[in-house]
Amino acid sequence: MAAPLELSCWGGGWGLPSVHSESLVVMAYAKFSGAPLKVSVVDNTWRGSRGDVPILTTEDNIVSQPAKILNFLRKQKYNADYELSAKQGADTLAYIALLEEKLLPAVLHTFWVESDNYFTVTKPWFASRIPFPLSLILPGRMSKGALNRIILTRGEPPLYHLREVEAQIYRDAKECLNLLSNRLGTSQFFFGDSPSTLDAYVFGFLAPLYKVRFPKVQLQEHLKQLSNLCRFCDDILNSYFRLSVGGISPAGQEMVDANLQKLTQLVNKESNLIEKMDDNLRQSPQLPPRKLPTLKLTPAEEESNSLQRLSP
């Protein structure tokens, strides 16, 4: 098809072409089926602001969810499931449903609800890629959406407390990972030697969980024990994504991560300091303001002072 296909999705990190599961599913499927997809990363633009990412744009259409995008690609004759039998196609649907029911709540929880992970990794990462002032609103909204989804679908009685819901969803996720590992066995892909839709979905859900470095890692630890699933992710990354990660070498990526961490720590320290100062001011006795002889800094000195404080 001559029409150019453009995909807007969240960017990559930690060795992955994208950190967002759904974007990764679409990118993997495009690689498997040979669709010529031009990937434009939503970084510091307003396009991801509606939260609908990934979005596929062609000349006439805009398609928005992964399932619909995959259907659209299939209609354009980019079909990765060509060699599957009818039963295998049915199995694909079933396993995708299993992933969405059992694994997705725990993945959402690990990324967006678990406070250590959210505040140290997810929020800074997404906030740094969304323009101000949306960076203050959108990550919070995505986090609330994730929590909402978990509570509405899994938080029904007799589980009344969030702790019990969390325990249940992690248990289900571990069981799901075990089932996937059993199903994969020692073969390279789920259905024989060539990758299909199911491989794209499994890769999309597992790869961020496998690669992103979190403080609270119970699900990641469990995944790392299932060596065939780890090997599956690594194989796909090496064979299909090695050349198009965007040219950032692993060393460069780590440097960027280290800088981001330092900046985050500095900002946190500054905000703590400001809070302490604020507390001190509030607690100090209320005296009428008197004119203190202060040294007025010249504008140039003030500017150099503030610059020194912000640089890492």
Binding site: Q65, A86, K87, G89, A90, D91, L93, A94, Y95, A97, L98, E100, E101, K102, G145, N148, R149, L152, T153, E156, P157, P158, L159, E164, A167, L179, L180, N182, R183, G185
Partner: protein
């Protein structure tokens, strides 16, 4: 339930054999029960029949509120109350009856996957049809759901339930789906199930835990016993071509549920 509580319950369950007076509670069959609840109830009945465990069905208007998890059906066995198919299967397994012992790991994984498919697609579609499609809601659901209660409670409860279901649909991304998209998903799901079944009498050659779940929805859609919502008749016409699966639902009905 926490792990400790579950282990405790299975120990108690394992201690006693299945009693003769086990009862299953559901809503009133003629006037109140809705499509999705009826399907769940049939699934449990089919499962217990397949395990050869006697069960008596009792209809109560407030069954939904009696249930420990808020969902019907639930069974009352000895001095324990267990609701929903998943926990009931585990409970029955703790008592020593299981249909899935002969399956290997890969088959168990497939069975769980197909059960999730049925729950994810078909059950959600049923809920959508019942509560988010205005025509059905107006004609059938509101009237049936609130029928045992006096005015204005019948309207209030029906609207409350509708609001809850709509919230859930929005959270999982079905809020913006049109009816045609939902029917397309149902069609895809039925095709998948039909292809998995092929020409076998059961999904995994002999009866397994997953069969009742799938047969319940098939039978539900095919049986004209209850007034089917108008859109569901449309869905029925989509499913008719999938004969192996419809035939399997038919045979199970003859074997198990006719009493």
């Amino acid at each position: 339930m926490s792990l400790v509580a579950e282990a405790f319950v299975s120990q108690i369950a394992a201690a006693e054999p299945w009693p003769e007076n086990a009862t299953l509670y559901q809503q009133l069959k003629g006037e109140q029960i809705l499509l999705s609840d009826n399907a769940a109830s049939l699934a449990v009945q089919a499962f217990l029949q397949m395990c050869n465990l006697p069960i008596k069905v009792v209809c109560r208007a407030n069954a939904e509120y009696m249930s420990p998890s808020g969902k019907v059906p639930f069974i009352h066995v000895g001095n324990q109350v267990v609701s929903e198919l998943g926990p009931i299967v585990q409970f029955v397994k703790a008592k020593g009856h299981s249909l899935s012992d002969g399956l290997d790991e890969v088959q168990k994984a497939e069975m769980k996957a197909y059960m999730e498919l049925v729950n994810n697609m078909l059950l959600t579609a049923e809920l959508y049809l019942q509560w988010c499609d205005e025509a059905t809601v107006g004609e059938i659901t509101h009237a049936r759901y609130g029928s045992p209660y006096p005015w204005p409670l019948n309207h209030i409860l029906a609207y409350q339930k509708q609001w809850e279901v709509k919230r859930k649909m929005k959270a999982i991304g079905w809020g913006n789906k049109t009816l045609d998209q939902v029917l397309e998903d149902v069609d895809q799901c039925c095709q998948a199930l039909s292809q998995r079944l092929g020409t076998q009498p059961y999904f995994f050659n002999k009866q397994s835990d997953g069969d009742p779940d799938r047969n319940k929805t098939g039978r539900q859609i095919l049986t004209p016993e209850r007034p089917a919502p108008p859109r569901v008749s449309q869905a029925i016409s989509l499913q008719m071509p999938h004969t192996p699966w419809s035939a399997a639902c038919g045979t199970d009905e003859v074997l198990a549920i006719r009493k």
